[in-house]
């Protein structure tokens, strides 16, 4: 994995399609390894997790990935309104933490922060989410999930349901899928559709996508339904939220017309958008997705540390 050693992972657009497949292969090899062997891969190495914005899920996934590789973890996670690094610039924090660690995973509320951090870091920066912008490790994990569950990307019909405007996971994922010939269907409440810059880059990539109003009949023909969180505060009014909310809930009833092998994914944590009565169905892929995400984060850490697997 020489080509990844020392590299920053800021945006999946920086990776070629063959490099993406190399990471998938590496995740497969790690997946197949006995746990004790995987546990030797990053012995003596330190991952710093710098979370200027709380995201328990992503941070735990990175930390678990490092522990399962036999490495150590340090870092901070700020509560929404506190400021551990009050007054300190991003550049100073990164330059200091780069002395204490071999790799840095960061989440920051400002967009472009991971790219900025990478220009000051002598160790690899892994973007764990920058504002509503990008979330490449989630995207690589989701790509790995599709490949493990469906065996292919090309020709898949993938629906995206929910808040597509603020959903950074979606912004990164759809631009990757466009490069692999996936047909995408966007179903968002009015005013929460994909941002213009994402739409522009999909057009530049020659992507096959449609934007439609959601009804449960839209589920026909989909191979994958990727559901994202609907947050009340994103709606224009409480009434609109209450009016729309129920029509965006995926429950057993909403799946009546779905393909038997429809795969339902969700980046988690969920609110009410996927009813718990779906969890026991084989179609519910979101917990397996979290596990594939963990394996992919192990692969990303190993690759950027330059570990031979």
């Amino acid at each position: 994995m020489g080509s990844f050693a020392g590299r920053h992972i800021i945006d999946t657009a920086d990776l070629s399609t063959s490099e993406i497949m190399e990471l998938v292969e590496l995740a497969n090899r790690i997946q197949a390894m006995p746990r004790e062997d995987a546990n030797q891969l990053a012995t003596g190495k330190i991952l710093a997790t710098l979370f200027w914005e709380p995201s328990t899920r992503t941070r735990l996934s990175f930390e678990s990935a490092m522990f399962r590789l036999g490495g150590n973890v340090l870092g901070f996670s700020e509560a929404a309104n506190s400021s551990v690094s009050k007054g300190e610039t991003l550049a100073d924090t990164i330059q200091t933490v780069a002395l204490y660690s071999d790799i840095i995973a960061m989440r920051h509320p400002f967009e472009g922060s991971a790219l900025a951090a990478s220009t000051f870091s002598r160790v690899p920066i892994i973007n764990g989410g920058d504002g509503a912008h990008l979330h490449p490790t989630q995207t690589l994990g989701d790509t790995y999930t599709l490949l493990c569950e469906k065996g292919r990307l090309e020709g898949l019909q993938v629906g995206f349901l929910g808040d597509l405007l603020f959903g950074r996971t979606v912004h990164t994922f759809v631009r990757l899928l466009a490069r692999f010939g996936v047909k995408m269907h966007f179903f968002a409440p009015e005013g929460l559709n994909i941002p213009q810059y994402v739409r522009d880059s999909l057009i530049d990539l020659g992507a096959d996508f449609v934007e439609r109003e959601w009804t449960t009949s839209c589920i026909d023909g989909l191979d994958v339904l990727y559901v994202t969180r609907l947050q009340k505060e994103r709606f224009f009014s409480e009434e609109e939220y209450l009016r729309k909310k129920n029509s965006y809930i995926i429950n057993r009833e909403a799946l009546a017309n779905a393909k038997d092998d429809l795969l339902i994914l969700h980046p988690l944590p969920r609110n009410e958008e996927i009813s718990t009565d779906v969890d026991k169905l084989p179609n519910a892929g979101y917990f397996r997705q979290a596990e594939f995400g963990l394996k992919m984060r192990m692969a990303i850490i190993a690759a950027t540390l330059g570990v031979e697997v």
Partner: protein
């Protein structure tokens, strides 16, 4: 309004109507002590309306040329020496512009970390407008 001929200086023509005032701000304040002609919303055969600016006894450097073009891609600049047009310039916009444009995305890291130098990818859109995209947050600044 009549625009007088100038002897030495520059003529900025084909400025997008109404943008002239922004263009004037790009020049050092010393121009306030020289003769300036500024005509706004002049009728022109090719553009319907445009602004024209003439400034006496001033030169433009390449950086200013680029800023002029970013503000008004249609601009032409004539350098006047001894009452003659010595050179006519249609400035080019480089594909990447650093430190000139400020990102308008309030969540952009370049606004929080103000020591960062802004970086924009610039391209012409199909509508003939320039598209300025922040290299950090990808937001498009109008």
């Amino acid at each position: 309004m009549r625009i007088e001929r100038i002897h030495n200086g520059i003529v900025l023509d084909h400025i997008k109507a109404g943008v002239g005032i922004e263009i004037l701000k790009l020049f050092p304040t010393e121009i306030l002590r020289t003769k300036i002609d500024y005509a706004s919303y002049v009728e022109s055969p090719s553009m319907t309306t445009k602004d024209i600016i003439k400034i006496e006894n001033i030169d433009v450097n390449p950086e200013t040329l680029m800023k002029l073009a970013l503000l008004s891609p249609s601009i032409t600049i004539s350098i006047i020496r001894n009452g003659q047009v010595q050179e006519k310039i249609t400035p080019e916009i480089p594909p990447v512009v650093e430190g000139v444009i400020t990102c308008t995305n309030p969540k952009c890291v370049t606004l929080r970390e103000n020591y960062l130098i802004s970086r924009f990818r610039v391209a012409w859109s199909e509508a003939g407008k320039i598209r300025k995209q922040c290299a950090y947050c990808e937001h498009i600044t109008k």
